[in-house]
Symmetry: C2
Subunit: 332 residues, 2 copies
């Protein structure tokens, strides 16, 4: 799939706010849960924004919905095609069902069963892709491209898309409203990063008083490498990893362009710390987070010294994990 | 512990509303999560009120906080004593910590480790009771009574107390606000019942348009038997059961008095259906519910025909369950 053209003027607050207004009636306001353990750890205040409780169990529903709302009439009739490792798939399928727009999806054959089931449940047509060449994500992307041609459907990219980024920014706008109601503010926002739509959208929403962080997992730290190199860089992707939603090897072009301009910083965490974070979310907060959804909490556990005495919001970005897998994570 | 005197005039809506106003700034607004599966099952609309995400992981914090706020100055200084199988313990401990009131608790020795740890974490002094005679609850209650005498502390009952009932009613008042915001209303509210503070408070909050239901588990259906007999009746309590928060054998005197006047109905569910409900809450809604917290969902799964075409809210009353136990429930 060809990269999106980089636009010279970034979407401003008014654009983000108007997008949030358009999708507000469809999305669930997700709770902010305080973690006493993490607050004590940093001697500050830690809140978890539980997007695992969003419709379809992940924030991806927000961007998908906004993207579909902005198709033209003919595009809406002919439907959309996309590839996704799972959470974007379910989000797009649910958004398509609400708006009555046909959705065709390509998913990796080894995506978690619950994610495939979830997307199918919302009435999308699913094709499984069993190739890992050149990578699991890229093989599925190529297949989606073919499918779009065949059906005259609009091909969507799961993250490298300004409208999707603008839709995901609603997480940050909703958070701002919640913090305002609590007469609170935050100094840091930690976002899990696959291709970077959540972190890019969030960084557009906050001004320089709030440091936004891109959190990735070892082996799949394409965004962190790109931040370091100041240009799009590729992660090795050669390690076993159960953060199935974070396996994009490179950030989106639009996503990287935004976060280079907004001053996002990065942290890479180990798989082991991610597992500890999954257990902490369960034991302390009664929150189900999938491993991908727990990396922001893992970053706080791995580098508490970076956040000493500050107020931090960690996005728990998704909670779609198979039962057996989750049970085994709890038992470690 | 002697029963509370029954009062002739039930707390009115103004009393409930004023109580909610007093505790509002301390409690978390818990989300309402739609279940597509259960909605399809009853061909209606099912929402789960996730009190498992309340501070301390259960609704019990609400009533405990309101009760403590209404102690007089000397009582506040001398502190309180109570027995609890776990969730009231943690709720009371957290409320005591916030209001700087000493809390001494008696808990059954076989309460879930996470519940004991939770109460201790909030700074309460814990005594474990290893007697089951005449019942696990009553042995602990007797020990709490002794402790209160020794320390000149105020003895609190975990549920048979008008102020606690009024505090728990805030679940229903918050729900009413949420339904109003969603331009929705409900026909049925399903409440898990141990001693009956949540169901009694909730039934005070709703008028006759909403049917409130008391949901219990086989073997511990004291409230259902009492409703049937029109007088306080005792459940056998002789079956193995992992609904550790619902093991009171008899409803509270005040609680039963209220629900007989407000027209609450009852359903008893099997342990097996409760386990299925725990798994459904996980798989579909990413919600961690302890078995006791899942009985209202189990009732919908067991008797969907009672709710056909209606809008139902099921309270997911708590989510405090040990990791190993939860993993084994997921693997069944």
């Amino acid at each position: 799939m060809s990269a999106v053209p980089v636009i010279s003027t970034l979407p401003n607050y008014q654009v983000l706010s108007s997008a949030f207004d358009q999708i507000r009636k469809f999305v669930r306001t997700t709770p902010l849960i305080r973690s006493d353990f993490l607050s004590n750890l940093i001697q500050g205040e830690v809140l978890v924004k539980a997007e695992s409780l969003q419709i379809t169990g992940a924030f991806k529903f927000r961007g998908a919905l906004y993207r579909l709302l902005n198709l033209d009439k003919v595009q809406k009739e002919q439907g959309v095609t996309a590839y996704s490792s799972g959470n974007f798939a379910a989000g797009l399928a649910a958004a398509g069902q609400i708006l009555n727009i046909p959705v065709r999806l390509v998913m990796p054959h080894d995506a978690p069963e619950s994610k495939i089931k979830n997307a199918r449940y919302y009435g999308a047509h699913i094709t499984l892709c069993d190739s890992n060449t050149p990578s699991r994500e890229e093989a599925a992307s190529n297949m989606a491209q073919e499918l779009a041609k065949t059906h005259g459907a609009t091909l969507l990219h799961p993250f490298d898309d300004y409208q999707i980024i603008v839709g995901q920014a609603s997480v940050a706008l909703e958070l701002q409203e919640q913090l305002h109601d609590m007469q609170n503010n935050c100094h840091h926002l930690l976002c899990p990063v696959g291709g970077g739509s959540l972190v890019a959208g969030s960084s557009l929403a906050f001004d320089k008083d709030v440091q936004v962080w891109a959190i990735e997992v070892d082996g799949y730290q394409g965004m962190n490498l790109s931040l370091k190199n100041g240009k799009r860089s590729r992660a090795p992707g050669n390690t076993l990893c159960d953060c199935d939603a974070l396996m994009a090897l490179e950030p989106g072009v639009a996503n990287l362009d935004i976060i280079l301009q907004t001053g996002v910083k990065g942290i890479t965490v180990s798989s082991q710390k991610v597992h500890e974070a999954v257990r902490l979310a369960f034991s302390e907060m009664n929150l189900v987070l999938e491993p991908s959804g727990a990396v922001a909490i893992a970053a706080l556990m791995e580098k508490p010294e970076l956040f000493k005495n500050e107020t931090v919001v960690a996005v728990g970005s998704g909670g779609n994990v198979d039962r057996e897998k989750y049970a085994s994570l709890l038992q470690q």
